[in-house]
């Protein structure tokens, strides 16, 4: 019992460590004072002024657009690649998966610099599209590594059974294989979206002047002082995701519960 209490306590301590900054930021979003170290009283004014701050809103728009499109394109390329890799022999498969690992294991700063050098070497203007390409590049591995395990679990036999029952190859793929690996594709997409949203370093090196994501905007503000609207926006984003996750979890739990009664 003592052991169990100690274990609980330890988990709570670590969670506190991980979530303390988040609680702090939510707190700061209601802080009347612009200082990050002084409490000036409670206010919700940052939440209203947020929607008048075009610079922040446009950074938000850029961030979400890049996150969505990079995750979407990476999901398509990654899923198709997974199917191909899964059917390969050992050696090419190992080589390809090794290459897939590079952007994940490599330092962000090296990935960012290398892409920047490539774009400049090709006289490709650093802009929205260069950031998008960079994000797709580091997102593809997350998709592949989410889809591959699902693909391995999927028995070849179900696909062959569909063919045997008269389905065309395309039909069999869309009606049998795809639904099977869909959870992997979805989690790959969500993971890619999250990674893109949270990225600063690679964007920092591949963006051109004039475009800003939330990350790069915050970075330029670090020295000057962060605008409190930024805390308000981040809190809103975080709470939205939190609520979505809770709802999603509720739903999957419910699904499981009904599954159980069916048995």
């Amino acid at each position: 019992m003592v052991k169990k209490t100690a274990q609980r306590f330890y988990i709570i301590l670590i969670l506190l460590f991980l979530y303390a900054p988040i609680i702090t930021l939510v707190g700061l979003s209601f802080n009347q004072s612009k200082s990050i170290s002084r409490w000036g009283g409670f206010t919700t004014k940052w939440y209203t002024s947020l929607f008048e701050n075009d610079a922040i809103l446009s950074a938000l728009y850029t961030t979400l657009t890049i996150a969505f499109f990079s995750a979407f394109i990476a999901t398509i390329i990654g899923t198709i690649a997974s199917i191909a890799i899964n059917s390969m022999k050992r050696l090419p498969r190992t080589i390809l998966l090794g290459i897939t690992n590079i952007p994940m294991l490599n330092a962000d700063i090296v990935t960012g610099i290398s892409l920047m050098l490539l774009f400049i070497g090709l006289h490709y203007t650093l802009s929205f599209s260069s950031v998008l390409i960079a994000h797709i590049t580091f997102n593809i591995p997350y998709v592949i590594l989410s889809v591959m395990p699902k693909l391995k679990q999927t028995s070849r036999n179900t696909y062959e059974a569909a063919l045997d029952l008269g389905a065309s190859q395309l039909y069999a793929f869309f009606k049998v294989v795809l639904p099977d690996i869909f959870p992997g594709i979805l989690s790959g997409f969500l993971l890619a979206f999250t990674m893109s949203l949270d990225d600063f370093v690679i964007t920092h090196f591949t963006k051109g002047p004039g475009i800003d994501t939330l990350s790069t905007k915050i970075y330029t503000e670090v020295r000057k002082g962060i605008k409190p609207e930024m805390y308000a926006l981040s809190s809103l984003l975080f709470v939205t995701v939190l609520i979505l996750l809770i709802l999603l979890n509720r739903r999957t739990n419910k699904d499981k519960a009904t599954d159980f009664t069916k048995k």
Binding site: L97, L214, L237, N253
Partner: protein, 273 residues
């Protein structure tokens, strides 16, 4: 579609990776080994020996090693407790550790300024309990804290994953053959979790070694890590050749960790953490 034709589906992916992973890496090598007049030179590499650069590299190695060790010490017990928890939906655990990423990483790091401030939350709590105050903001201590904070999930998740894959009957077997709990851990559980530990170590060590943001935000502007030096070469000095050369030096350490991973990670292809 038979396998022979299926593998051609990898074509767009192979093309993409070649264009945006492989060629860019060669760009770094090219810039790192040439000077502004496009002549071959080693001077971009040897510049690491300059005292200020050497100091930054040494500090980076020291801080990232320390924070990796701290992460391991904090994460292993946590992961092992998590595997023992009986829960219906275990995937929620992973969510709990990924969720903070939805709050911008720069802001989360910045929040530690507020928490660590002389009159900040932590010191207020410490004063309340009559404990000694901490004053580590703008010191290497704050940078270590920032590293541990940011990269801890990347240590927890791989260890948790390998631990939860260990067949409980193997642990039972060791107990059955006479091993006590500690011996079982030392000879069975820990060796079997080693792939997770190694992958956790690289996933913490590499970003910690190469960061320039955490030192920027929590170290004031006085403390320079090797990441800061490289970033400045690119963004302020506009000296891509020196920056690339220093990146190449940095990559030696990254390659060593990658080699370690691939050695221990033979068959786990297709698992992120």
């Amino acid at each position: 579609m038979n396998n022979k034709r299926k593998k051609y589906l990898a074509f767009p992916y192979v093309l993409w990776m070649a264009a945006f992973i492989i060629i860019p890496l060669f760009m770094i090598i090219y810039y790192g080994l040439t000077n502004r007049n496009r002549q071959f030179t080693f001077e971009n590499l040897t510049i690491i020996a300059e005292p200020s650069n050497l100091k930054a590299l040494w500090l980076s190695l020291k801080l990232s090693t320390l924070s990796t060790i701290l992460c391991l010490i904090l994460a292993y017990p946590l992961a092992s407790i998590l595997t023992k928890i009986k829960m219906k939906n275990k995937s929620i655990l992973v969510f709990i550790f990924i969720l903070p990423m939805w709050m911008n990483f720069l802001l989360r790091t910045l929040a530690w300024q507020t928490l660590l401030d002389k009159n900040g939350v932590i010191n207020t709590v410490l004063t309340f309990f009559h404990l000694p105050l901490i004053n580590i903001i703008n010191t290497p201590g704050a940078i270590i804290l920032g590293m541990v904070y940011n990269f801890l999930p990347f240590m927890i998740l791989p260890i948790y994953n390998t631990l939860s894959k260990i067949d409980s009957s193997v642990v039972d077997a060791a107990r059955d053959l006479g091993a006590n709990e500690f011996q079982t851990f030392l000879r069975i559980t820990f060796p079997l979790s080693l792939p997770g530990v190694i992958s956790g170590i690289t996933m913490v060590f590499v970003p910690a070694l190469t960061t320039f943001v955490i030192s920027d935000i929590l170290g004031g502007s006085k403390i320079l890590l090797i990441g800061n030096v490289i970033e400045q070469e690119f963004k302020y000095a506009n000296n891509w050749h020196t920056g690339s050369g220093l990146s190449l030096v940095l990559m030696v350490f990254i390659l060593i960790s990658m080699a370690l991973v691939s050695k221990y990670d033979k068959e786990s292809e297709g698992n992120i953490w």
